[in-house]
Symmetry: C2
Subunit: 240 residues, 2 copies
């Protein structure tokens, strides 16, 4: 049996709960490279013995790291380190958008406006014909139906395709969280109920034109205006 525990001069650091300590130790193992992405951890029972805690506490630590997207537990198989890619680690970002309210929603939209306008500008400079076709597919599908649910889905996919073309997966993962389904459903619903469909259509068309022209500055302005419109609407809603 290999000893994974680091040597301790002090036998009892005793800071925080044992579970919290276990979380930190596993995180440290990964950060220090002792556990590579995709690697399989020892069993829960073994890990508990190695860190000197009960299996219950170890399970809580593992569960915590699981929701953070660091570990992945496969029933009957074992516990594995995720690939630690942007998508894995930023999945929890959606929780923020889901539980924020009031002024915080405006702040989130402001962050989204900043990131999405830049991402759209980057996309305008780099987008390939294939990626552009994907964008146009969702743009067309959005106009071909009047089912709000379907429109929302294609609206999401439209922006997602653009952001993907920007080439920064981390930024894409953050924007994915900021545009989580429940978040957009909450804000967009009220916005669109005020007959903003036509305006949204015009703004999407402007973004599309900028992409076709490979004009980053126009794309940035169009995307910023698009998000800014919603942002402003939400701001007035809250001040009433």
């Amino acid at each position: 049996m290999d000893e994974i525990l680091p040597r301790q001069t002090e036998p009892a650091p005793q800071k925080g709960t044992v579970t919290q300590r276990a979380i930190e130790q596993i995180k440290a193992m990964i950060a220090e490279g002792r556990l590579e992405p995709g690697a399989r951890l020892p069993t829960e029972r073994e890990l508990a013995v190695q860190l000197g805690i009960s299996r219950s506490s170890m399970r809580e630590a593992i569960r915590a790291l699981t929701v953070l997207g660091v570990l992945e537990a496969r029933h009957g198989s074992g516990i594995y380190v995720t690939q630690l890619e942007a998508g894995d680690l930023l999945e929890t970002f959606g929780v923020v958008a889901d539980l924020s309210r009031g002024p915080q929603l405006v702040e989130l939209l402001e962050v989204r406006r900043i990131l999405e306008s830049t991402a759209t500008a980057l996309a305008a400079a780099r987008i390939t014909p294939g990626e552009l076709a994907e964008v146009e597919k969702h743009l067309a599908a959005m106009h071909a139906t009047d089912d709000p649910e379907e429109i929302l889905a294609h609206d999401l996919a439209f922006h997602r395709a653009i952001v993907a073309a920007a080439g920064n997966d981390t930024m894409a993962a953050i924007l994915e969280g900021l545009s989580s389904r429940t978040f957009r459903a909450r804000v967009w619903r009220g916005y669109q109920e005020e007959g903003a469909f036509a305006r949204t259509r015009r703004e999407h068309a402007a973004i599309h034109r900028a992409l076709v022209a490979h004009d980053p500055e126009a794309a940035r302005a169009a995307a910023a205006a698009h998000v800014g419109e919603v942002e402003e609407w939400l701001r007035t809603q809250l001040s009433q």
Copy 2:
């Protein structure tokens, strides 16, 4: 005893683990407003009974929501919903920076460059004399010592004070995660070892000048260049 459980037409939805289901149900209670920020939850034992699961599983669910910054457990007192502010929910963002590596670090720096340059521009337009004094305090302290640790601490505080002046707490919380202590220690160390102190000093001075002049565009450019320098250095490091 009040019944908190929603009425279920189907007695057994049975998707995912019971713990995962418990996490979703508690999140839903908060999202729907049945649990206000700061509210005290029923005891672990009570919650377990209400959701029809064991206390062990319920504890795992609570632990998960605790690390996400949604709940807060106080030993001997009870479990409470946090204030759900940006700082609470985005604390986990630091984990991303801590566990990312290679190309992903460059992507994170790119996101930071975008957000921080905008934040600095906003700060230039809004900063008050008091806030400016705070910025200058750390700028001076950074030059008054040659202890790398202390320099790094004041460097962090310098940027934190500027971002705080921008007035968007959500953006500040994200940037806080992107500049987490371990992250900067990892990247900055190698950067500064190449004698970049003088350059860093010039760049900080440029940012400061733009703040004093209340010139947003100059501030944006200076901050973007500042982060961009490190970004470019890291990029070349990785390509070797």
